[in-house]
């Protein structure tokens, strides 16, 4: 049986509400919901924009495994290695040049508010710098 998940369109700041119609663990369509800003309407992007989740590889492809550049080439690794390598290099750079030598970004796109909160907390509390910003300016 299919199910309907109410969510917010990720394509612009209008914040339209829509239902993702899911069948067999796959999104099959999107239909407009009665959101405050959109009142049961959607534009093309809201209606068809979910398709990238099925990774049709038209332009680029989904990342499915952590990668570390080894001798110039990106190689697949396990999460443990990716995390300890990343944390290790960041700690090293912080020790050598100080926290203000590290820059981090938030994301104005898909990740959501909680991930942005965690990112700025990480930069401020764990790294120790206010060098955090996002692409609103760009």
């Amino acid at each position: 049986m299919g199910k309907q998940i109410l969510t917010t369109c990720p394509y612009c700041g209008a914040g339209c509400q829509l239902y993702l119609n899911v069948n067999d663990g796959k999104i099959v369509s999107a239909t407009p919901a009665a959101g405050r800003t959109n009142e049961e309407t959607l534009c093309l992007k809201g209606r068809y924009g979910w398709d990238f989740l099925n990774d049709p590889q038209i332009l680029t492809k989904r990342l499915t495994k952590p990668l570390i550049r080894k001798n110039g080439i990106l190689e697949e690794v396990e999460w443990d290695e990716a995390i300890s390598y990343t944390a290790g290099r960041l700690s090293e750079i912080k020790a050598k040049y100080g926290p203000d030598s590290i820059m981090g970004t938030g994301s104005a796109r898909g990740p959501g508010n909680e991930a942005n909160y965690v990112m700025q907390k990480f930069m401020r509390a764990a790294v120790g710098t206010n060098n955090v910003d996002h692409c609103a300016r760009v």
Binding site: P56, T60, T86, L90, M103, E114, R137
Partner: protein, 567 residues
């Protein structure tokens, strides 16, 4: 936005400034059409004949880069003709005399040679704006992506102050921005100068509150903006002041930032580049480590839409592959660096954020669930506080004295203007159907077919004739920073000498051309305007082959098996 999106349709006058609603936000554009049907007057200020300009009562087709001069001239007319709301100015504002002194010289006759808009039209627009019962200003990237952006925004806000268009419904001033969650990233403190809820990192009381909650001492030094990174890598001589590591999360600077050649050099010079994203992208080609995350549709959370509305996103499907949510990945790195973070879900993160952010404290998950959308500020957890549809109620402003501050600034020309060598201007614009850096929509089958590489350059028919090119021809575009190939799109909608490109194409990547000049306050790059030259390509067949080859090589670089094309 100081108002809510639904209020747009009830304003008596809409003043739309450098905002192309039909392309950027179709559903906001629908409200504009509705407002018009309900009898609202529509004034559009844009160098192009946009969809909104077509249905407008007045179109001020100003020359690109002259925003500030035009806004000052409108303020000048309102004051000179006695149309200001004197009571509002007296009771609720400060700085009026200084404002008046600056706009004094910007008579419509003074502005005309700068803006290329007739003095009569400027007067007519100023009168209509000042006299309407409720006037609302909507502005977009046409304002923000100039080096004089912050001045212009404050200038627009000053027009609303001058005419008492703050503090009630269906009025005010609204930025309508590009990416879906720009508002959210700002709300959550992904900014170098403030924590969540715009609480300043230099305010001792605020910092102490966060130090106590997070259990570590925090820096009181404002951080550097993203747009300063290239300088801090390529030009900074002091090793201690250089940026040595760059954690790029859900962004693609190697496609979206101005002056791409400089960005690529920057990424290559930084000791350590972390990329965390859902798709392989151009930044990934320069990354030392790539962390794959879940996408919209695969995780829970909250977005903030452009009118301050918190709304839920929900997980609909299981992610494929060995990926984690963004907050989990960051928490793991943090823990490994000796600062443990152990969140169970997004609600737990949200509750911590609320407890530290008074203006969002009342927006609980339960309440967002029940109401669907809550516009901040929302300070009280009880169901009574349903949020705030419009700001500055009763003419109260966030400044310590509660007054709205007037601001005027002299007009400055764009940093790079046309010359004999680069005789055309280029502005970057947005397009229906494709989103930002395109890894998402470019991978949607129904949307990818809308347009295809290498994109288009909009030119006036007169310029096409002069260069002897026609629709669909490939043409070479040069600036002082780079060159690219794109297709000719003649259109009556633009003036001779001005050209427009959308920024999401990979081969025709207009950011190869744009300038890295920044607004001194917002640090926004001036990507709306630079000087270029155009060159007809005689051998169209080999240019077509070049485009085809470049497209294939980009796809190969992104790890796509070329044989799979068209799947």
């Amino acid at each position: 936005m100081s108002m809510g999106v639904p209020e747009i349709e009830d304003a008596k006058l809409l003043f739309i400034f450098g905002y192309n609603g039909a392309d950027a936000h179709p559903i906001v554009a629908r409200r504009i059409v509705k407002a018009k049907q309900k009898g609202a007057k529509l004034i559009v200020t844009d160098p192009r004949i946009t969809e909104s300009a077509r249905i407008a009562d007045m179109h001020l087709q100003l020359k690109g880069g002259s925003n500030m001069a035009l806004i000052n001239a409108i303020g000048n007319v309102i004051i000179a003709e006695g149309l200001a709301d004197k009571k509002f100015v007296e009771d609720h504002t400060s700085g009026y005399e200084e404002y008046k002194a600056i706009v004094e010289k910007y008579t419509p006759e003074y502005a005309e040679p700068i803006c290329h808009v007739s003095p009569d039209l400027i007067r007519e627009a100023a009168r209509a704006y000042a006299k309407a019962e409720t006037s609302m200003i909507l502005y977009g990237m046409g304002v923000c992506q100039f080096a004089q952006a912050v001045d212009v925004v404050k200038g627009l806000a000053s027009l609303a102050l001058l005419t008492g268009n703050f503090g009630g419904p269906n009025m005010g001033i609204g930025p309508v921005r590009g990416q879906n969650n720009v508002q959210g990233a700002c709300d959550m403190g992904a900014l170098p100068n403030c924590y969540s809820g715009y609480q300043s990192v230099t305010d001792d009381a605020v910092r102490e509150k966060f130090e106590k909650a997070w259990g570590v001492p925090l820096s009181n030094k404002v951080g550097i903006p993203l747009t300063h990174v290239p300088h801090r890598v390529l030009e900074e001589k002091d090793e201690a002041k250089k940026i040595h590591a760059y954690y790029i999360f859900g962004e693609d600077p190697a496609q979206s930032d101005p002056d791409l050649a400089e960005i690529r050099e920057t990424l290559d010079k930084i000791d350590f580049v972390i990329m965390q994203d859902i798709f392989m992208n151009k930044t990934g080609l320069h990354a030392d480590v790539i962390l794959p995350s879940t996408s919209w549709g695969e995780h829970d959370g909250i977005y903030s839409c452009c009118d301050r509305g918190f709304q839920r996103i929900r997980k609909a499907i299981e992610p494929k592959g060995d990926v984690k949510t963004d907050w989990e990945i960051i928490s793991l790195i943090s823990t490994a660096m000796g600062y443990p973070m152990n969140y169970k879900n997004t609600q737990e993160i949200w509750d911590e954020m609320r407890s530290l952010t008074p203006s969002f404290y009342g927006a609980t998950y339960e309440k967002i669930e029940a109401l669907g959308s809550i516009q901040w500020p929302c300070r009280d957890e009880s169901m009574e506080d349903k949020g705030t549809p419009y700001l500055h109620k009763g003419g109260k402003f966030a400044h310590p004295d509660g007054r709205g501050k007037f601001f005027a600034s002299e007009w400055r020309p764009p940093c790079e203007v046309e010359s004999s060598e680069y005789p055309y201007s280029l502005s970057t614009v947005r397009e229906v159907g494709h989103y930002s850096v395109r890894t998402m929509t470019g991978n949607c089958r129904a949307l990818a077919n809308l347009e295809d590489e290498p994109g288009w350059i909009q030119m006036s028919p007169a310029d096409c004739e002069k260069l002897n090119v026609k629709e669909g021809d490939l043409i070479r575009v040069y600036s002082r920073r780079g060159s690219l190939i794109t297709r000719v799109m003649p259109t009556e909608r633009v003036k001779a000498g001005a050209t427009y490109m959308t920024y999401q194409w990979w081969i025709g990547a207009c950011n190869e051309l744009t300038t890295p000049y920044l607004d001194p306050i917002s640090n926004t790059p001036e990507s709306k305007y630079c000087a270029i030259n155009l060159e007809k390509i005689d051998d169209q067949a080999s240019a077509e082959q070049f485009v085809k080859d470049s497209y294939e090589s980009i796809r190969t670089n992104m790890g796509i098996d070329t044989a799979k094309k068209g799947v």
